[in-house]
């Protein structure tokens, strides 16, 4: 790169940034508000067939036989695919650790209710679904294990064929002197916690359109799957295809929250396309399938935790032991959600001695899959609850105990006990701002008054961090052979045409994070043009640069780095051409406000369009090493990351956004319903490229967090039968449950990330469950009860209230 990467917006080659840092309108919106955006399910290919999937009604059963002959004869049915063919045409779905998954379709037995057993392709979805009913499957039900605490005992039944255990992962990490800290503690608090599984539930379900050309061998995939460079290896491994013969064309996403990063259904529909020999087949997941079957559940955890403290409230040690029910397979990257807390075991707090023991169990439930915040919300909730309990025990105010343990402003960059580095922050300042803005003292008085009236009103004030741009190094702890690498590349191509208009090609589509908009903002400022002069498009997997996609809040960081790098390279090329045109030395040319000029020589300037025109028109005059192509690519990689050593010590992430939230709730004594009376947050995600986009991510994360805290839960019976397979049972928060929150900004720019940004896309989901759940327990305190299960659903709270009144 020619120039040093700008660390703040003021360092862009513009007198005053006009777009970066401003609420500029999103370029994604006009298509979206007019219904013209083409989501996956809107795609129609010539001669396209439609798939429907038959799913197992049993949590665990042998497949004795499948007879699809009646289904095949139904007019309109083109093909039926069963496990036998899937086994002969593919390898098991990719997963970490290796060897703990099954095929994309059940072969000898089924492992959870909803596991695909057969796929049908027909001329129309209605016919395909009719045909499902004509398939006869003979099952022999097997003993089921739907409880991780039973699965961990080592006694059968075993979920996976050929295994004599259900423990897929078992690892204890220890940093500092944990036994010593507990032996020397003045006070120890111990608790058990239970976090039940929920998920992202984007309003758009998953879509895949596959077309496998038997002549060229080319597999073309369209639809809602994202992060092609992550999906591709899974396809290559499972399907045995050659990487350059797979072309993934992504559609705009109607939400993802991590769940569309997954490859199982893509493998399945690709295999159906293989059978169809050149006819495209579309599968659009229906909502029931999404709820029961699409490997998108997350965090089914049992915790046993302890904090060691000094009398003054200083936390000296922490032990956290957890068992996570992964569901039937340890599929894809789900195990990473157990490992991510390792990056920030102490959250915002300086806890020098920490032990983290995690087990991943397989059971006869839906497999887990990646979900926004990737395993941190339960971790932070548990830690914040422990701090509240410890504060009460020590007679300290809830904020005082936090203040005494916060990492101080002057301690950044802070190296955590596990070796990860937090780039910058001011947690104490953020808390101060939060308490001021929320009128904390007044709220305490209101609470006191409410309590004197017999009302159950509670407050929660909690903290968290959001590690931005985590990735492969973390996964190396479970799969060193595959993931011992420090890269999470994000690449972009930027070009300028002969009219001076800019075009950027990215590797991912619009999906709610507004990344096309902020690429446009940055380029508009860099080259001093209007927003309308920048076009941003998504390209397919064969055309795109190396890309990781919007994972772990990487977009603002990695894409900003990629755009700046490509812009600098392009500007450098143009400068060398401008030097010819201006008869000056290339080193003397500068770009400012979109004009190329000789440094120190005012008045003689060239617009970027003049330079790009010249570049393409007069190859005979171009300097050595410059071709006639005004474009540049750049691949940004996170700096300073390391591969973890054998203890699990390593530098895993790039930024650490901080968040402090206050929540005030009232619990209805009669119904157990929790009403959020007040919600205030302070967020420090460094420089905000587009404040309203950041606010949107935070508010959306908060809504997701309210759902996770109070409503959303996948419930299974003891036989592994799922009881929440519609939105009548799996409850999502509406505008009535999600409070109107206040959001305040603290800004400590990242010294590492380009333009000082920090990842914040996973947002308030990190913090909100802890804030809400701490507030509910505070509300219940006068009754002498505490709830240690999430979600604190109306039923769960009501039951606790009944227990208290007896």
């Amino acid at each position: 790169m020619a120039a040093a990467e700008p660390k703040l917006p003021e360092q862009l080659p513009v007198t005053q940034p006009r777009h970066v840092g401003k609420d500029s309108p999103r370029m994604e919106d006009p298509l979206m508000v007019t219904g013209k955006v083409e989501y996956g399910n809107d795609i129609r290919a010539p001669g396209m067939l439609h798939a429907a999937i038959l799913r197992s009604p049993h949590a665990h059963a042998l497949i004795k036989s499948i007879d699809a002959s009646r289904a095949e004869k139904l007019p309109g049915v083109a093909a039926v695919l069963t496990g036998k063919e899937v086994k002969s045409w593919s390898r098991p779905v990719f997963g970490v650790p290796e060897g703990w998954t099954g095929y994309a379709l059940a072969v000898e037995k089924t492992h959870w209710v909803g596991e695909p057993v057969a796929v049908i392709a027909a001329t129309d979805r209605y016919i395909a679904e009719d045909a499902l009913e004509l398939i006869e499957v003979e099952y022999e039900p097997l003993e089921t294990v739907a409880d991780a605490l039973k699965a961990v005992t080592g006694e059968g039944p075993y979920v996976l064929e050929g295994k004599q255990s259900n423990v897929a992962y078992d690892r204890k990490f220890s940093f500092g002197d944990v036994p010593g800290s507990f032996a020397a503690a003045d006070v120890i608090v111990r608790e058990r916690f239970r976090w039940h599984r929920s998920s992202g539930n984007p309003i758009e379900t998953c879509v895949c359109i596959a077309d496998w050309n038997p002549v060229t061998g080319m597999l073309t995939l369209r639809g809602s799957h994202r992060s092609p460079h992550l999906i591709l290896p899974a396809l290559v491994i499972s399907l045995g295809v050659s990487s350059q013969q797979v072309r993934i064309i992504q559609s705009p996403l109607g939400g993802s929250f991590g769940v569309k990063t997954f490859a199982r259904y893509v493998i399945l529909i690709s295999l159906m396309a293989k059978k169809l020999k050149g006819r495209a087949v579309k599968w659009t997941e229906d909502r029931i399938e999404h709820l029961i079957g699409s490997s998108t559940h997350a965090w089914d955890r049992h915790y046993e935790c302890a904090l060691a403290l000094k009398q003054d409230g200083t936390v000296t040690g922490m032990k956290m032991e957890l068992i996570d029910d992964l569901g039937a397979f340890s599929e894809w990257l789900a195990i990473g959600m157990l490992l991510k807390p390792l990056l920030c075991l102490g959250s915002c707090y300086r806890i020098p001695n920490v032990e983290y023991a995690c087990k991943g169990l397989v059971t006869n439930k839906t497999p887990q899959g990646p979900l926004r915040a990737f395993g941190l919300p339960p971790h932070f909730w548990v830690l914040e609850q422990l701090l509240d309990v410890a504060a009460k025990k020590l007679g300290l105010e809830r904020n005082e105990i936090r203040r005494r343990n916060f990492i101080k402003k002057e301690e950044f960059p802070y190296v955590s006990p596990s070796g990860n580095v937090y780039d910058s922050g001011d947690y104490e300042g953020s808390l101060k701002l939060l308490l001021e803005k929320s009128g904390y003292d007044r709220l305490l008085k209101e609470q006191e008054k409410a309590r004197s009236e017999g009302r159950l009103v509670g407050l929660g004030v909690v903290s968290s961090i959001e590690p931005g741009l985590t990735g492969p190094p973390m996964l190396a702890l479970a799969a060193p052979r595959i993931f011992s690498r420090t890269s999470s590349p994000e690449g972009i191509l930027v070009r300028i045409d002969g009219f001076g208009k800019l075009i950027a090609e990215l590797g991912f589509p619009p999906g709610g994070q507004s990344q096309h908009s902020f690429v446009r903002q940055i380029l508009a400022d860099y080259f001093g043009v209007e927003l309308e002069d920048v076009q941003v498009i998504t390209v397919d997997s064969l055309s795109m640069q190396p890309s990781t996609g919007p994972i772990s809040s990487s977009m603002a960081i990695a894409l900003t780095g990629a755009v700046l790098g490509a812009a600098a390279r392009l500007a450098d090329k143009l400068k060398r051409v401008a030097a010819v045109m201006l008869e000056a030395r290339a080193d003397d040319i500068e770009l400012l406000d979109g004009q190329f000029r000789v440094r120190g020589v005012p008045g003689k300037t060239l617009a970027a369009a003049q330079v790009s025109q010249f570049m393409m028109a007069r190859p005979d005059l171009l300097p050595e090493g410059i071709d006639g192509n005004p474009e540049a690519t750049y691949v940004w990689n996170p700096p300073d990351r390391t591969i973890p050593d054998e203890r699990g010590f390593g530098r895993y992430s790039v930024t650490a956004a901080g968040a402090q939230h206050l929540c005030m709730v009232e619990v209805d004594r009669a119904t157990g319903q929790v009403k959020i009376l007040k919600y205030v947050m302070v967020d420090d995600c460094g420089v905000r490229l587009n404040p309203s986009v950041v606010r949107g991510m935070l508010m959306g994360g908060m809504a997701h967090g309210v759902g996770a805290a109070l409503l959303e839960e996948y419930v299974y019976d003891e036989n592994g039968q799922m009881l929440t397979s519609s939105y009548m049972d799996y409850l999502l928060p509406t505008i009535m449950e999600v409070p109107a929150a206040e959001e305040h900004e603290m800004c400590t720019p990242s010294p590492i990330a380009p333009l000082g940004v920090k990842g914040v896309g996973e947002g308030a989901l990190h913090t909100t469950p802890a804030a809400v759940l701490c507030a509910v327990n505070d509300a219940l305190e006068p009754l002498g009860i505490r709830i240690t299960e999430a979600p604190m659903s109306p039923l769960r709270v009501w039951k606790a209230l009944q227990g208290a009144s007896r």
Binding site: R26, P30, V33, T34, G35, P202, I203, M736, V738, A740
Partner: protein, 160 residues
């Protein structure tokens, strides 16, 4: 066996006559037979509101209605909101200006609900707006900016 019926509807001011299976849902008819893919399917059981359209001026869930039930009706979908020249409707403009959408998938449903609300209650207050929007799920925005979008749209429609 599936039986077919003839259905006559006027959608966004255009008359259509088509033969459809009696079991076909209204949203599938709009999307597949008429090519109006702006209306999205989110849950297929009437909870999420993504498929909301107007039928004779009132919002309906097109995923839990059959096309044949719309016979003779006047329908309006998100494609009918913008002006004929392509100019955005004030409701669309307001959602854009107030960041009332992120991924945009639930947005057509919110827009159509807002359209009926503001047609009938141009002075709707915050509580009324929330009541009306409570049948539409959004997973991205956290609702607050949607609420602000509707308030702005109400103001703009009252003072064009």
């Amino acid at each position: 066996m599936a039986t077919s019926r003839t259905v006559k509807v006027r959608v966004n001011g255009v008359d259509h006559e088509a033969t459809v299976e009696a079991r076909k849902t209204l949203v599938d008819f709009l999307r597949e037979d008429l090519g109006l893919t702006g209306t999205n399917v989110g849950c297929e059981h009437g909870v999420c509101g993504a498929c909301t359209i107007l039928m004779n001026g009132e919002t309906v869930r097109s995923c839990i209605m059959l096309a044949v039930q719309a016979d003779g009706a006047e329908l309006m979908t998100v494609e009918g909101l913008a002006q004929p020249g392509g100019e955005l409707h004030p409701i669309q403009e307001s959602f854009r200006d107030k960041h009332g959408l992120q991924c945009g998938f639930c947005t057509p449903g919110f827009l159509m609900t807002t359209y009926e609300l503001l047609s009938k209650h141009p002075h709707a207050d915050e509580e009324e707006i929330k009541e009306w929007l409570s049948g539409n799920l959004c997973r991205c925005t956290g609702y607050q900016d949607i609420l602000e979008s509707v308030k702005l749209a109400a103001t703009r429609l009252r003072n064009p």
